[in-house]
């Protein structure tokens, strides 16, 4: 203690009698504030509510909607987007974006197919190679972003074109027919198999998607690696200073995203039967996965949201597509409403972020 402590602190004498507490919490009683707080802590609540409401609305509008077969068809239709969404979720949580997810998926599926049929590699081996090459494509994104410090948007805009054109060049625009695959390499179509409890067909791909979402939900919430993904997206510099190796995290996240895309590529073969380099996923996969992520309440600015939200987001899109078709409206209404939902989701995200102020 210094003897002139008193003189130095003299100008603060007026503080005497003031509250000494520095860390004081008062509960804000307003209902709106509470809702805001709750959403802040449970970011997947909004898409869950939207999903529940839309299911109820469509069930009322169309008697065919709320049936097991309809539900399983919806799940089947979102399987690929859901898996690409896992990849996109990881990347967006780090405040990045991956425009190449669809391209990696298509190229990986083509690689698996061509390695089997053109080069005669056994299908299981070709699948492993395809998964490894997809991971490598993601890792290239990650290297360019973490080492060369290039913006993720630009890097993946570039690699989207590169992977997609490499896919056309490598495959010579050649489609492998479904019958050929079924005959000589059924392993490629594994995820197209289905179980039929009570006559309701559920694809293996649906179980895979749900398993991946569940695993990643655990990893993101309950492991140090998962917390670091959030920390990097929240404030990369702060994460670095508090002991997270941000460059390595970013590389790992993009590589893992590449692996998920390759898995989606494998699932595509099961879903569509054939291997086609011109599959629409190559062009639309990125937008569809970003849509699921955004509607799922994950912040494009990184660090906020949950992968379960992405799953709800993908389901909402699936429910809208199916529901509006059953109701018999012009299918363009689907995209109209999804556009509205995207803007709504981002507006809610901005509002939730204000909880701190």
């Amino acid at each position: 203690m210094t003897s002139n402590g008193n003189t130095a602190a003299g100008f603060e004498e007026g503080l005497q009698g003031a509250s000494e507490k520095v860390a004081e919490f008062h509960d804000d009683k307003s209902l709106l504030k509470r809702v805001q707080h709750w959403l802040h802590q449970t970011p997947s609540a909004v898409p869950m509510i939207v999903l529940a409401v839309s299911v109820v609305v469509f069930a009322i509008l169309s008697e065919n909607f709320f049936r097991a077969t309809t539900m399983s068809t919806i799940l089947q239709q979102i399987a690929i987007v859901g898996i690409l969404g896992c990849a996109q979720t990881l990347v967006i949580l780090t405040a990045g974006i991956d425009l190449s997810v669809g391209a990696i998926a298509v190229f990986s599926s083509v690689l698996m197919g061509q390695l089997t049929f053109r080069y005669g590699i056994p299908a299981p081996m070709a699948i492993v190679l395809g998964l490894a090459l997809g991971t490598a494509m993601g890792a290239i994104n990650g290297l360019l972003i973490s080492r060369l410090k290039l913006p993720p948007f630009i890097v993946t805009l570039g690699t989207w074109q590169i992977y997609l054109s490499a896919n056309f060049i490598f495959s010579a625009n050649e489609t492998i027919r479904s019958q050929d695959i079924a005959e000589s390499a059924p392993a490629l179509q594994f995820w197209g198999n289905a179980v039929q409890p009570g006559g309701v067909k559920i694809l293996f791909a649906v179980f895979l998607m749900i398993a991946l979402v569940a695993i990643m939900s655990y990893v993101l919430r309950h492991t140090a690696w998962g917390r670091h993904v959030y920390a990097v997206g929240d404030d990369a510099e702060a994460a670095q200073l508090s002991g997270v190796r941000t460059d390595r995290m970013i590389l790992q996240v993009y590589a893992l995203a590449g692996l998920f895309c390759a898995i989606a590529g494998w699932v595509m073969i099961g879903r569509f039967g054939s291997v086609s380099p011109t599959a629409s996923t190559g062009q639309l996969g990125n937008i569809q996965s970003i849509t699921a992520v955004v509607i799922g309440g994950i912040s494009l600015f990184g660090g906020r949201g949950s992968i379960v939200g992405m799953f709800f987001g993908a389901l909402i899109v699936g429910v809208f597509e199916m529901g509006l078709r059953l109701v018999g409206t012009d299918p363009q209404w689907t995209f109209f409403l999804i556009g509205v939902l995207i803007i709504f989701a981002v507006a809610v995200d901005q509002w939730i972020r204000k909880v701190s102020s």
């Binding site: 210094t2 002139n4 130095a8 860390a23 510099e237």
Partner: protein, 259 residues
């Protein structure tokens, strides 16, 4: 004579043509609060970054506890028991207090859940974080799972100091801890600093706030033009003397004073 716990000799750091550290010396004694003051651009930050591993000096040596050390990164310095509270606090706003306190050194569950499934031991982490905050009198933080962004500036500073004090076994470095705070919150942080010292951990305090420096520091290291100009005791000089030394308006006292 007691040995300094942290000592640096002839530190040099150049950024291109700019010499931020010009054969700078530094000594921190056990159990003391050493303030580092200096004008803008004097090289305070570079000195602190060199001591905390954030930059690697081009020349010179650092000893910790009498042993020569070289820090390749802040993680490295942390492993040696040197914790730094950065001016920006280095916290992830959306994550909880407990998550932030354990960032980069999380605890895992014992047994297979931890080793194979890498599951975090949340209850242990929360208990530890709560204890540490209580020790520093921040017990009014009720919910340890609260996101850091919902805390006030003073509370965040408190959590950052608690984190450093909890893990900094040898040295705690505080960079401008009161710069962003109001009068009341500053007062609380100064008390926190004293609390940490009373637990035997020496502190390096970088500050522009002369009243704060003169109030809590045991010794004051005055930095000028990339090197240590002198070390004074706050009792021997006035604040205006210190300002005069650090701006060069007044000749510094003869030789750097021993502890």
């Amino acid at each position: 004579m007691t040995e300094p716990i942290l000592k640096a000799r002839n530190l040099v750091k150049r950024y291109g043509k700019v010499t931020a550290l010009d054969h700078c010396d530094f000594e921190l004694m056990p159990g003391e609060i050493l303030a580092v003051i200096g004008d803008n651009g004097a090289g305070k930050s570079s000195l602190i970054k060199a001591l905390s591993g954030a930059v690697q000096p081009d020349g010179g040596e650092i000893w910790l506890d009498g042993k020569k050390v070289e820090f390749a990164s802040p993680l490295d310095a942390r492993a040696h028991g040197i914790e730094c509270v950065y001016q920006t606090l280095a916290m992830s706003p959306a994550l909880s207090i407990a998550d932030n306190m354990f960032m980069g050194r999380e605890l895992r569950k014992p047994g297979i859940m931890g080793s194979l499934f890498r599951k975090l031991d949340r209850p242990a982490m929360e208990k530890f974080a709560r204890e540490k905050l209580n020790e520093l009198g921040l017990m009014t933080i009720q919910n340890i799972n609260q996101a850091v962004e919902t805390l006030s500036g003073g509370q965040r500073q408190g959590v950052a100091v608690a984190r450093a004090a909890a893990f900094g076994s040898k040295v705690v470095i505080l960079d401008e801890p009161t710069a962003a705070l109001g009068v009341k919150e500053s007062r609380r942080v100064l008390e926190l600093i004293r609390d940490v010292r009373s637990r035997g951990i020496p502190i390096i305090l970088i500050s522009h706030n002369m009243p704060h420096v003169f109030e809590v520091a045991d010794r004051i290291h005055i930095h000028r033009l990339g090197k240590r100009l002198c070390v004074i005791r706050p009792d021997d000089y006035t604040m205006s003397d210190a300002v005069a030394f650090m701006t060069g308006a007044k000749e510094a006292p003869g030789e750097p004073m021993a502890a």
